[in-house]
Point group: C2
Chain length 162, copies 2
């Protein structure tokens, strides 16, 4: 089981965009450059983030992507679900209704006990990701990132927004 | 993101084997028959469960697979990790150390904040699965399964063990 690379890219992109001055945007090419990821693949994920109304795309000479809402209202779960979808990682195929013990579906009023266990785990996983916002991540970056990295990043952004 | 079908099969197989009389075993072919799953694929997962010392294989005319330890000591997480491995679903590729803000690795003493969030979610997911044992699942099956399914299953097992 592996989350797509797009999840990592998506959370990084949304976090970077939280630093943008209001009413400005960064192009897909600039976002790929900053993160050192392939522009074509990133474009696909940026579109998914726009469909999920986490990003919005702006047309025109100063166009590109920017956050569609304040970073304190976007959770890591929102980004993960925009990229990976909301379907649980475990998909019950009703094995209990096959083989010699099989009975008609109406005799199984509850979900399979195994599915219930897996769903509970999925629920706590999503709750954990839903408890952290992009604003929390920008705070963490501010605390943890090497100071020279923050300076170089700010310089790059000034240049990119000229 | 999707768990392999083997996870569902594996948890079902281990749960069924918890009903076996002591010192008896069921062949891979019988286990595939009971669960209505392809024998060749199931065999691969049974081997993984044996390597993880959840199942043991017994040679001889009454050979096959049985639990290697009591069902109260095997968690759903044990089975999931035997099939899927223990690697987290999120793999940080250190995107923060690429692009214009990149600094040498030594300037990043902490894991990336995004990786930390994803790891926390992985930890609660595993804790949730680790809190449920195969003995809990057999209790749930005893409560929830259609009575006729339990009877037919028991008859099938008697026949399979002759």
């Amino acid at each position: 089981m592996k989350l797509s690379d797009g999840v990592e890219w998506g959370v990084h992109v949304v976090t970077l965009l939280a630093y943008l001055p209001e009413d400005r945007a960064l192009t897909s090419a600039r976002l790929a450059e900053y993160h050192g990821v392939p522009a074509a693949y990133l474009a696909k994920h940026l579109q998914a983030l726009s469909r999920a109304e986490i990003l919005e795309s702006v047309q025109g000479p100063r166009g590109g992507y920017r956050l569609a809402r304040p970073p304190a209202t976007v959770t890591v779960l929102d980004v993960v679900e925009a990229i990976e979808g909301t379907e649980p990682a475990f998909r019950c195929t009703e094995i209990r209704r096959r083989g010699p013990g099989a009975r008609p579906a109406r005799e199984y009023p509850l979900p399979c006990a195994i599915d219930r266990v897996m769903r509970s785990a999925d629920t706590v996983w999503r709750a954990s990701l839903g408890a952290v916002t992009i604003a929390d991540l920008t705070s963490a970056v501010g605390r943890d990132a090497p100071p020279k990295s923050l300076v170089a990043g700010a310089e790059w952004m000034r240049e990119a927004l000229r």
